[in-house]
Amino acid sequence: MNHYVHVFAEHADDPGLAAAVRLLGYPGIRTVCRSRIYEIGGAVTRAEAERLCLELLADPVSDRFTVNRRIVPRGAVALNIWYKPGVLDVVAQAVLKAAGYMGMTGSLSVRSGGRVDISPDPGRRAVERIARLALMNELIQYYETI
């Protein structure tokens, strides 16, 4: 089963990115938050996924994390941005290696990505344009709304 992991900092909002999005023609956008996501699959239990979060993926002081929760703040829209198949995922490689050191030697798959929460939700067409122009590189990434 694939576990969806969301790791986010206490203050995840990115004023620079918000300013860039506003400049694209969406002056009503208040906040844009950026955080990290991982999809962990293979023969790994939820407890093991949580252990990976606690010991590897999330900083114990500044980060929080959730596993298999897809919560979107009210009024906002959240996007998962992943690499397209075949694109080298350096972070995932590092996670796999580290998981090995942690004793998780079973068959394991990892992919990493970024999550962006935009508030307020500007609508589907605006989100598509914002994603394409400011959040990801279409050449190597794609997004899905949560």
Binding site: D14, P15, G16, L17, A18, A19, A20, L23, G42, K84, G86, V87, L88, D89, V90, A92, Q93, A94, L96, G100, S107, L108, S109, V110, R111, L133, A134, N137, L139, I140
Partner: protein
């Protein structure tokens, strides 16, 4: 991504391409479909070779030849035989070359025969002598096309690649500093951006972050660079990445012999970056496959950097080179060039399964090096790597056959003669023309009523002049603890900084000798006058070094030509004229070129229009600073000192920032009076003891330079325009080369003037430093303008096009 020991598909062997029977059209179709970027003449040469061999080539063989013969790897345009019809300093000339590069840039170095050039134009980087024990390696490369497509990944792999070049120089140089120079479209561009092209702001952000992340994580300080903006770079940004390394002088020679093993070290091989070399030689359009993008992993590179240097010191290999453009095909071809080699692709470690043999052979997966070692040493090398968690595997051996043989599971994938591979490329014969553009007239009316203060503030805020501090500070200047002069210097109590003309490091801790790094680049000049631009950028790099304390006799240059559509004879002519001019300048200054690169065909097809970038030559320069006591900084030290301007006093407006700000086209672009410049730089050693602050005049002219000098310690200046000056705007803001502003204690002025008179170097007094934190401009005794340092500083730091939020939001 799954963890498993991946193997490529074993059942497929190389595909045979029916080349021998193909006609012209079919040959070109093969080249196009395979992304080979080979011309008809080149395809025919390959066809002839295989007809003689008596069989058709495999796809691997064609790919190998295409990569090795690519413009990127072979510099076919610059090494072509050519005829140049041009106008050289007013005279019509026809110059014929058998090899443009050899007879221009290389020729300068040969003629100068500088005793401290240890290795020039042969290895992965140029090497100069630093002292008896050590050499300094320096290489600057471009990574333009990938950065246009994927700014972050493209720029990151650009810096990763040049670091590997330094690592693959001799038996390995230790990287001690990085440089980067970026050319972007205007940040505030409001025009249409075609599909597939990123907005310049986006490119800038991605590139800055890509180079930052890679360099910082490798623990290499990025100490010098430049960022310039011009509309011409909208569709084709330029990303120049440089790396400086230290190498023991007894480790410069590479050696391979039949029977030695070939070892692949570092990251695994995947499908990323295939066709990078041929792709980088072609024009951009919007239908490009994902695989041409490379992704970098600095942690892997840092790990093998350390292993490699340790292995080098233990003598565990006899030759090494980086796996860059063309991947294993280029690296193995190069390293075993004199003898021949046999490579077993099934031994190469893969990222995932399913790769075809040609994909393994051509992959430009990053962070790989190829080393050659005698069998026992190879075994120890692999063991050492394993202990340090770096992957290394023997993939083949050096042979004595003179052939490049590639096998997969015993099946032959490629078998090409090394001589044909490296020397079989047909030489191009090119025709080029160049003449300078007509020098326009200066619109006197527009200049007549220029308000000095308002104009100064607009010039300070101009993207080419404005502080790039928010970019520069993302790069670690201090890691390795050897940076002596950083990009910004100021005193802590006033929280202000003056920009410096060059940066200085102490590359070998035990040795007090220092190394300075600078650069020269100017697309505004390039658009109007390629020859004047070339003269200017060479002088800019050299005078930057002189200002900070380098010795004029120990300055070395690198050239990086980024040009537009060189199939246009006029654009090509500009390139050759620039090469000639670079040669002339290097010889006049006796500053040899030690390395160089070119990136041609930076143009974009927009519908029916073909848009080329401005002709952009980057000159990177390193110079030895003998003692710490020679180092000078730009900020004014104290009030009550004289401000003098030494050197060439003729100023021009062509291509100037003033004209850019006023929206007019100036007349003549400044060139260089080499005789005068040499006299100035030669007497600098005598002048230096009396110089308190030095800053060169460049963008924005005299007044912009003086303004920048007031920032660091909040020491103001009073500039006095001569009573007889008729053209205030040109006096204040006109630009020129070989002109340096200095701060001198009044007691020393007569002595300084003596030295300059004796050396026949013009010098004018323009004012004095004052306690008031302001810039005051007078004509005679009349005050014509005054502005506070705070206001100038604010203008200088308000780079147009970025909001405060964006500037803040990019810090990590």
């Amino acid at each position: 991504m799954k963890r498993s020991d991946a193997k490529a598909v074993a059942s497929v062997s190389a595909r045979t391409v029916p080349l021998r029977a193909a006609d012209g059209r079919r040959l070109m179709a093969i080249s196009r479909d395979g992304l080979l970027s080979l011309t008809l003449e080149e395809m025919r040469a390959v066809q002839t070779y295989f007809r003689e061999v008596g069989r058709d080539p495999t796809d691997c063989e064609l790919e190998t030849i295409a990569q090795t013969w690519s413009e990127h790897c072979k510099h076919k345009t610059l090494t072509s035989a050519a005829t140049l019809h041009w106008v050289d300093r007013g005279r019509r000339r026809v110059t014929r070359y058998r090899n443009v590069l050899k007879e221009t840039v290389f020729a300068a170095t040969r003629e100068i025969a500088h005793p401290e050039c240890l290795s020039v134009f042969e290895d992965n980087a140029g090497v100069i002598a630093f002292d008896d024990q050590y050499g300094i390696a320096f290489k600057v490369e471009t990574h333009n096309h990938p950065s246009a497509l994927e700014p972050y990944g493209g720029a990151a792999t650009g810096i990763g690649g040049v670091i590997r070049d330094v690592l693959g120089c001799g038996l390995g140089a230790r990287p001690v500093a990085n440089t980067d120079v970026f050319c972007f479209g205007p940040m505030d561009w409001r025009g249409r951006v075609p599909d597939g092209v990123h907005h310049p702001r986006r490119i800038a952000k991605g590139v800055v972050e890509g180079v930052r992340d890679y360099g910082n994580r490798m623990g290499i300080p990025t100490i010098n660079g430049a960022v310039v903006f011009h509309e011409g770079y909208l569709y084709n940004p330029l990303v120049y990445c440089g790396c400086i390394g230290v190498i023991p002088r007894n480790m410069l020679a590479k050696h391979a012999a039949p029977g030695y093993h070939i070892v692949c070290i570092g990251g695994r091989t995947g499908r990323d970056g295939i066709h990078g070399a041929t792709f980088s030689s072609a024009a951009l359009h919007d239908d490009l496959p994902t695989s041409v993008v490379q992704i970098g992993d600095p942690v892997t590179e840092k790990m093998f950097l350390e292993v490699l240097l340790e292995a080098r010191d233990r003598g565990l290999f006899s030759a090494v080179t980086d796996c860059g453009a063309g991947g294993l095909s280029s690296a193995c071809g190069e390293i075993a060039r004199e003898h021949g080699c046999r490579i077993h692709l099934d031994r190469v470690q893969l990222k995932y399964s399913g790769l075809m043999p040609w994909e393994i052979w051509l992959s430009e997966s990053q962070e790989r090096m190829v080393a050659v070692a005698p069998p026992d040493a190879a075994r120890e090398l692999v063991a050492l790597c394993a202990r340090e968690d770096v992957e290394a595997v023997v993939i083949g051996e050096v042979t004595d056959t003179g052939r490049l043989e590639v096998l997969y599971d015993g099946r032959r994938i490629a078998d090409v003669s090394m001589v044909f591979l490296h020397e079989g490329v047909p030489k191009k014969t090119l025709h080029a023309t160049w003449r300078p553009q007509p020098v326009g007239a200066v619109p006197r009316a527009r200049l007549a009523n220029v308000d000095p203060v308002r104009t100064l503030l607009r010039i300070l805020a101009h993207p080419d002049v404005a502080s790039k501090e928010w970019i520069v500070r993302q790069y670690d200047h201090e890691v390795q603890g050897a940076t002596v002069l950083k990009p910004f210097v100021g005193s802590h109590d006033c929280d202000r900084y003056s920009p410096q003309d060059a940066s200085i490091i102490r590359p070998v801790p035990e040795v007090p000798r220092l190394l300075a790094v600078s650069n020269g680049i100017n697309p505004r000049y390039g658009v109007q006058d390629v020859v004047a631009m070339t003269e200017s950028v060479v002088d800019e790099a050299v005078r930057g070094l002189m200002c900070v304390g380098a010795s004029f006799q120990r300055i070395f240059l690198l050239d990086n030509f980024c040009w537009g559509n060189t199939t246009d004879p006029n654009i090509l002519g500009g390139l050759f004229a620039s090469c000639e001019t670079a040669r002339r300048m290097a010889v006049a200054y006796r500053t040899p070129f030690i390395s160089g690169k070119d990136s041609l065909n930076n143009h974009y097809r927009l519908g029916r229009r073909d848009i080329s970038i401005p002709p952009t030559l980057l000159i990177s320069a390193i110079g030895v600073v003998e003692r710490g006591a020679d180092v000078r900084t730009t900020e004014f030290k104290s009030p009550g000192n004289a401000i003098l301007v030494l050197g060439d006093q003729r100023t021009h407006l062509g291509g100037s920032v003033l004209c850019s700000v006023l929206g007019v086209r100036g007349a003549r672009v400044p060139g260089v009076d080499t005789a005068l410049a040499v006299r100035l730089y030669r007497c600098f050693d005598d002048l230096r003891p009396y110089l308190l602050a030095t800053h060169d005049c460049s963008d924005g002219g005299l007044t912009a330079a003086v303004a920048e000098m007031t920032f660091g310690r909040l020491v103001g200046a009073e500039l006095t325009v001569p009573m007889g000056c008729r053209d205030l705007a040109t006096w204040l803001f006109g630009e020129t080369n070989s002109r340096i502003v200095v701060e001198v204690h009044p007691e020393h002025v007569p002595h300084l003037l003596d030295i300059l008179r004796h050396a026949q170097v013009p010098c004018i007094s323009v004012g004095r430093t004052i306690a008031e934190p302001a810039l005051v401009i007078k004509r005679g005794v009349h005050l014509i303008g005054a502005v506070s340092i705070d206001d100038m500083y604010a203008a200088w730091r308000s780079l147009a096009g970025f909001t405060a939020d964006e500037r803040a939001g990019s810090a990590v």
